[in-house]
């Protein structure tokens, strides 16, 4: 069953028929039993009737002609704006017309030469393949710090061939093709 405090805020919507039919039926059923809510609904209808006592006003006779004149003026302004844009475009076109004209007449041989040069440069760039550096993957190049590089360097000592006894290496990490081998010693 509906309570008065729930029905009260709904009365305006009920008077305007702005609710589902089943809610209208429920409120109608409540109003039949509750005199205070029925009185409230009656007061809302009465207020509405009072509001409708106001006469409606009519626009003056020159409302429509005035409005249409103003609308037409807007159309003219818009057209003028469009024509102004066109005028700017035309001016730009005319200012660059000399370029077009000279290209058509005098610039044609130069343009042909320039385009041939462009084509030649494109072709030469396509055909030219620069020699790329060899991949640096040896240990000396890969070494990060100077101390590492120093460690990798080989020290040579010039020894007369007859006194040649044993290779003197500062490091034995790497075998260089320049290091005299045992084969040389035998010789």
């Amino acid at each position: 069953m509906l309570k008065c405090e729930n029905v009260h805020p709904q009365l305006s919507a009920y008077v305007d028929r702005e609710m589902p039919l089943w809610t209208i039926r429920l409120i109608q059923w409540h109003l039949k039993r509750c005199s205070s809510c029925a009185y409230e609904a009656m007061r809302i209808r009465q207020t509405d009737k009072i509001l409708h006592q106001l006469d409606s006003v009519k626009t003056s006779d020159n409302f429509l002609p005035d409005l249409m004149r103003r609308a037409a003026a807007i159309t003219v302004i818009e057209r003028e704006q469009i024509s102004a844009i066109r005028r700017i475009l035309r001016r730009l076109e005319s200012s660059f017309a000399w370029l077009r004209y000279s290209f058509r007449t005098r610039m044609r041989p130069y343009a042909v030469v320039a385009s041939l040069a462009l084509i030649a440069s494109v072709v030469s760039l396509t055909l030219y393949q620069p020699r790329l550096p060899l991949p640096a993957n040896d240990a000396l190049t890969l070494a990060q710090t100077p101390s590492e590089k120093q460690a990798l360097l080989v020290e040579f000592e010039i020894v007369p061939i007859n006194q040649f006894s044993k290779p003197h290496l500062s490091s034995n990490r790497r075998t260089s093709p320049f290091i005299p081998t045992d084969q040389g010693k035998e010789k």
Partner: protein
């Protein structure tokens, strides 16, 4: 068959001035009445009604029939009314028009020509209308607009929600409060205090 407002607006978008004229003919009185009730100034209401239609005309090129034309039109009019009410509040202006009702003499003459009513009755009716309008003016802005849209323009709650840019439940609450306030204010001024009030 009556051409819909949206169709007329699409024609107007393509530069058809007669379609625009037809739209104005359909809504000019409704919009002028709505603005007049909101701001209580007939001449300004006419100006704002013209401005409403001009805004429609200007934005015709961008018009997309997503919502109803009528709601869109009322939305523009409502925004203009709000601006006008706020401007007046900011300037704190008491217009002479507010003190002297619009076209008072003309409307009295019109009423006097009606021989079915006695001069006393005519005067009483006019006085009553002035009081009612002043009572409407005393309502808060949103309540006033919602009440006018539902009572005079016969808009549905969902349409009012679209115009006032709020939810339907908010509209329901606004209208309920507006009616409650209106009832209290009318009792204050001596109208509708009894069930025998002239209705």
């Amino acid at each position: 068959m009556r051409t819909s407002d949206e169709e007329l607006m699409m024609k107007c978008r393509n530069g058809d001035m007669s379609a625009f004229e037809l739209l104005v003919m359909r809504y000019k009185d409704l919009i002028t009445n709505f603005i007049y009730r909101s701001i209580s100034d007939y001449h300004r209401a006419e100006d704002l009604a013209q401005e409403t239609f001009l805004r429609v005309f200007r934005s015709a090129a961008r018009y997309e029939p997503k919502c109803r034309f009528k709601n869109w039109l009322y939305l523009i009019a409502t925004n203009l009314c709000r601006n006008e009410i706020r401007d007046r509040k900011r300037r704190n202006t008491a217009y002479l028009d507010d003190l002297i009702p619009e076209n008072e003499d003309a409307s009295y003459l019109e009423l006097m020509q009606d021989v079915s009513q006695l001069p006393d009755e005519v005067y009483e009716k006019k006085e009553r209308q002035i009081i009612i309008q002043q009572t409407i003016d005393r309502l808060p802005e949103n309540q006033r607009l919602a009440l006018l849209l539902v009572s005079y323009q016969n808009l549905r709650y969902d349409e009012i929600a679209e115009v006032l840019e709020c939810s339907v439940s908010a509209v329901k609450s606004l209208i309920h409060r507006a009616r409650q306030n209106m009832k209290t204010l009318l009792i204050e001024v001596g109208i509708g205090e009894s069930s025998h009030a002239k209705v």
